[in-house]
Every structure is written in C-alpha cells, then in structure tokens.
C-alpha cells in the first residue's frame, strides 16, 4: 500500500508503504505532525492522496466509485480520538449508532433498535442508554459509543485514530481491553494510530514508526521495541519515562536536540539528520536512506541502522 499526499505544498505523508494482514493490529506511532493521522484518513479516502495506491483485499480503493465505494466504507470503519467532538450532541446514542445502518439501508426501524441495544451491551453499556444523549456521559462511556457505531456494520477492518489518548488512565485500560476483546470476537483487523508507545506496544502485532511523513522503522512489536534499529525509534523509547522510579533513575536518556522540522520544508536526505545523534555528513544530509530490511520482517530507514548501538536501558 503506497500513499502519498501533496496538500498545499505540505508533504504530510511521503512515500509510505505498508500492509496489514487480516486479524492483525498494525500500529502507526510518531510525534505530532508525522503524518500518522493523515495516512489513516487517506486509506478510507477522507482525504484523497496525491499519488499512490491503497489496496483493500482485491480492490484498488482509489478507483472505487458509487456502490463499490460505499461497500468498502462499510467494511472499513473509523474510531476517532475525541469522544466529545465525534458524536453529534443533538442525537441520542440510538440515533448515532443506527445512522450507519440507515445510510446503508439495513433493517427496519425495529431491527435497527434491537441491534443498537445488542451493540450497547457488547461495548459494556446498558441497552437502556439508547435514548440518552452524549452530554450525559463521561469520556470513556462516549468512546464506547464511538466504538459501537464503528461496529454496527460488522466491518472487517477498523482504523483507530488515537482512540484512548483523550481518556483518563483508569479508563484507557478499559477501552484497550474492550478493543482487544472485540478483535477476538469479530476477527477484526486494526490499524491503530497513537503517539503513546506503551499503548502501541500493548495492542499491536506490528509497528510502523513515522517521522515527518516517512516510515523510519517497521517490524514486529518485539523487534521494534527490543532491538530498535533506527536512532529515532531509540530516542523515542528512551524519552518516555517508565512508571517505575528505580528503573527510571538508572535509564540513560537520548535527549534529541531541537524541534521537529516543519513538513513544509523538510530536511534534505534523511529527514532525521538535523536531530540525529549519529548522523554523518555528507551522506545523511544528501542521500535519503531506503527502508531496508535489517532482519526478517524488520525494516529501518537509516544509513547506519546496523551499526548503531542499541540503547539497552529501556529494553528488558
């Protein structure tokens, strides 16, 4: 799957390729502005990529029109970050959840109501909540309704864009467990977009790390977290403090200098070279490193991927 998008001269996502297998969870992780959300939106064509292609099963998503596009959107659903902004405050939970069914002309009014009630139970709410409004509920409960809405059409794949980052810690764990349960129950495939490395590690089978519109490292979760090959991945992992004071005191941190450069005018060569602790010149500022295989199923886009010592502290 190749996506690239050229907005008003912002290359938000530039030459990104990955695949997701059925039943798997692929994590997209990176800092703000790295293009992870844009990638998610391009896949379901909430944004139209400038070039590249998206394959879903046998069809080329970018060429879909009319009925077939509608069918695709039934199969691939989206869960949004903000449970306050993504539910219409003037609709009841029942109306919110049955809207996808109405659009796709599924069921009678009675049948739809029955399905809403069932789905509310599936996501851990009570069927009586069907006539209630979003403002009556907390963030975690609303996010459950956002998840229920995404499940109404029995999709095969769900793109989760930061589904837990707006929630309190104790509620986060509830929603993560719910998403995992639903995956097992319905055989769902997830593309899980988040900036929280711990959440990504917990829920994902494979992880793609993005920086300034590019995938810099891609591999199984164990490989990416235990033997990160790209200096950016290593810096990210070392920057996140662990909730364990003694361990945290012993960890050495790689502190990156400066800020993420603007995607309007990204650095030449390797985009990370301006902040990279091991950059060598001129190669890093002139040549863009390809996303090469460093081990089976593990790719990294760094000229020195194999040479860089692994920051052992964060790795058990």
């Amino acid at each position: 799957m190749i996506l690239s998008r050229l907005g008003s001269s912002v290359k938000a996502v530039d030459d990104v390729s990955f695949s997701v297998s059925p039943g798997e969870t692929l994590g997209l992780v990176g800092e703000s502005g790295c293009g992870k959300s844009t990638t998610g939106r391009c896949i379901i064509r909430l944004l139209e990529p400038t070039s590249g292609s998206v394959q879903f099963e046998d069809s080329d998503v970018r060429k879909l029109k009319g009925k077939r596009l509608k069918a695709f959107r039934r199969d691939v659903q989206f869960i949004f970050q903000d449970p306050y902004a993504s539910l219409n405050p003037r609709m009841t939970f029942g109306e919110i959840m049955s809207e996808p069914l109405v659009i796709h002309g599924i069921g009678t009014r009675k049948e739809r109501e029955k399905r809403c009630k069932e789905m509310l139970e599936v996501v851990g709410l009570s069927p009586e909540h069907i006539h209630r409004y979003p403002h009556e509920f907390s963030g975690g409960q609303r996010q459950r309704v956002g998840i229920a809405r995404a499940l109404m059409l029995r999709p095969r794949m769900i793109i989760c864009d930061e589904p837990v980052s707006a929630l309190d810690v104790s509620i986060q764990a509830q929603i993560i467990n719910l998403l995992e349960e639903l995956q097992n129950e319905f055989g769902l495939t997830y593309l899980f977009i988040a900036h929280d490395l711990a959440v990504i590690r917990h829920i994902c089978d494979r992880v793609a790390v993005m920086y300034l519109g590019k995938v810099v490292e891609l591999g199984g979760w164990k490989a990416v977290y235990n033997t990160p090959n790209h200096p950016y991945t290593q810096s990210l992992l070392s920057a996140v403090p662990v909730p364990d004071p003694q361990k945290q005191r012993q960890r050495s941190r790689i502190i990156l200098k400066g800020d993420v450069p603007s995607p309007i005018d990204p650095p030449t060569g390797c985009r990370f070279h301006t902040r990279c602790p091991i950059a060598q010149f001129p190669i890093c500022s002139e040549q863009e490193p390809p996303l090469d295989e460093v081990a089976i199923g593990h790719r990294a886009a760094c000229h020195f991927a194999k040479d860089f010592p692994i920051a052992g502290d964060s790795i058990p």
Binding site: E31, S32, V123, G124, S138, G140, Q141, D168, V169, S170, I171, Q172, A173, Q174, I176, N177, L178, E180, E181, H195, D196, L197, A198, V199, I200, R201, H202, I203, K222, Y225, N226, S235, L236, L237, S238, A239, V240, P241, V242, P243, D244, P245, Q246, K247, Q248, R253, I255, L256, D259, V260, R275, S314, I315, P316
Partner: protein
C-alpha cells in the same frame, strides 16, 4: 526553619447553581526546599484547583476556601492582604501552565513578557529587565536568545513556548515552582528536554517543585514525594518509591496496574479500574472510591476514611490500609476488576 510550603486540611469549594462542588476537600501536605512533590490524579480529582488555591488564583466567588490554611514559610497566605499575596505570586511562588499557547499573551513580545515579573517585583528598569529576560531565555536553552526575545509567541514552537514559560516563572528566582501538566501538550522527545531542564534548574536554584500530572512515568522520573488525589481528596501520600512499590490505597494500586508499559514484555489483558470517575457534586458516600473499589466493604459506604499515617511518612486514606493482610492482596497479582470493565482477567 519551617517548610517552604504547608497546606493544612484545605477545603476549596465552588458554590454553583447545580450545587456545591467540593473540588478540594481536605488536602494536607508539606513541601521542603529543593523537594519535588508529584501530585497525581485523574481529571476532576482536584489537583489543579489545589495549585490554583496556593497561587490564590481561584476566582472567589464562586470558589471559597471553606476551611484550612496554606502557609508559605510559616506565614498564612490566606490571612495576607491582597497586596502581600500579589508580592508572592510570580515572585516567590511561580506557576507553569499546561498550554503555553494560551498562557502567553499573543500580542506582546516574548522578552517583554519574561521581563514583566522583574519590572513588577524587582523594580528593574526596562533595559535591565530586558537584558535579564534575554539571559533567562538563554538559560532555558533557546538559541539566539537576543533575537528570539523580540519574537511573538506564535513564532515559537510548542516546546520553545514552554521553555519561555519556564523562563518567565524563573525570572524572580522563586522558592516554589508549580508546574501544572507542563509536558502534557508536548511530544515525548520535547517532554524529555523540558523535564531535563526542570531537573537542572532545581539543582542550581534549590527551589521546590510541585509537579501536577496524570502521567505516572513523569512522576516516577521527577518526584521525591507523591500525593495521589481522588474526588478532591488526598488518598495517599508518601515517598515516591514507597508509593510505587508498596502502595497503601486500592486506587493507587489500580492506577499502577491499569498502565500499559513500554518497558515490559507482558501482553496480557490490562487491569482497569471499573466504573467512571465520580461527579464532584454528588460524591459517593463514605469513601469516594468505594463504588469502584474491588475490596470495598460496608464500612466504606458509610464512613469517610481519614488520611492517616500508616508507616513513617506514608499516609493512606483507606479504612484497611493498616491491615497488612489487606495490603498484601494488592501484590498477590489478582486482577483489580469489576463487572462493567470488560476484558480484565477476572
């Protein structure tokens, strides 16, 4: 010498049309010079209101300190005249807010904003204050500080704005630095820079830091002592290691257990705390945590547990915290889960 800050059974309530919101209900702690206190809790637990109360920045009405006291170096802040309070604020006690974009004034140059506390509190001339501001910007790691001081907030990135906020808070060399979620709006690589900067500053100035956050990783990194809040009340207080490795309150334990970790290989289901955080207007009776607590008994429903010292310097407000057998349950690996939290190991 008295501690630099004592908060003594503080009750800050808001009198609203919908009822009395007991935002802070009985918070007690002391802060020594050079110490970092981590205040942890979920949204609505009263941690920010506690900070604003110390700064005397809670609008009254609707807010009102119903009882309790806040003492700065032994002297009651609440009893002070407005003028004396103003002399402390931004001078001896300074605050860093979560969102540096909304807490900097967009129409003034960064340098002028950093110079302002110096003009007000230190009576510096314009030129001196400006020069000091440039020096402060340099200290917090802003390159080309002289030029940058002439910029406006919108020309700064998020991390740089937060550095500017820190420079402003540090301008007068405060005894207490209150940081309310200072890195929550920032990316992790920038967060690491800011935390590093705060540690360095503390080393050089010996100021005390109150670090308010929901991120237990940040607390583990920074704090000497930890105060855990729930529903406006302190539920646990102690040295960081004690709270992390031997929590004495089921809520603290639940929080620690519900975290996914990026440094351990466990992929088992997480252990969430069941239910939702309470509304501060209609707090549950007795212990506010009892509806979500897996170990709750009938006493918990009827009696409000006081915050008592269980071990040396380690306080808990659980009725059963003094019972070693009860506390041992926390560490036996059983999952802390209830019927409406799907997915837990039950």
């Amino acid at each position: 010498m008295p501690p630099v800050l004592e908060v003594d059974d503080l009750h800050m309530h808001f009198f609203t049309r919908d009822g009395v919101v007991k935002a802070v209900d009985g918070v007690t702690f002391t802060l020594q010079a050079g110490e970092t206190l981590g205040v942890v809790g979920e949204s609505g637990s009263g941690k920010s209101v506690t900070a604003l109360s110390i700064m005397r920045l809670v609008p009254e009405p609707p807010g009102k300190v119903v009882s309790g006291d806040i003492r700065f170096k032994g002297q009651s802040i609440l009893a002070m005249e407005e003028k004396e309070q103003r002399a402390l604020r931004g001078n001896r006690i300074a605050m860093i807010f979560q969102d540096p974009m909304t807490s900097l004034n967009p129409v003034y140059r960064i340098g002028k904003q950093i110079a302002e506390p110096l003009r007000v509190h230190k009576d510096m001339s314009k030129a001196d204050a400006w020069a000091a501001a440039v020096k402060l910007l340099d200290q917090v790691g802003i390159p080309q500080a002289e030029e940058r001081a002439r910029h406006y907030p919108h020309e700064f990135s998020g991390g740089m704005r937060q550095r500017a906020m820190i420079a402003m808070a540090l301008a007068c060399g405060p005894d207490i630095l209150i940081a309310d979620e200072p890195t929550t709006a920032l990316d992790v690589t920038i967060q690491a820079q800011i935390l590093e900067l705060m540690v360095e500053i503390q080393k050089n100035t010996d100021s005390a830091i109150i670090m308010i956050t929901h991120d237990l990783g940040v607390v583990a990194d920074m704090a000497d002592h930890i105060l855990v809040m729930y529903g406006g009340k302190p539920v646990e207080y102690g040295r960081a290691d004690e709270v992390f490795y031997g929590p004495l309150h089921p809520y603290t334990w639940g929080l620690l257990e519900s975290l996914p970790r990026h440094d351990v290989d466990d992929k088992g289901a997480l252990c969430p705390i069941k239910g939702q955080p309470p509304s501060l207007i209609t707090l549950p009776s007795g212990c506010a945590f009892h509806p979500r607590c897996a170990y709750a008994q009938s006493t918990c429903k009827s009696k409000v547990p006081p915050l008592v010292e269980i071990a040396d310097g380690h306080l808990s407000s659980c009725h059963f915290a003094g019972d070693p057998q009860f506390v041992a349950q926390f560490t036996d690996g059983a999952c802390y889960v209830g019927e409406d939290a799907p997915g837990g190991r039950s």
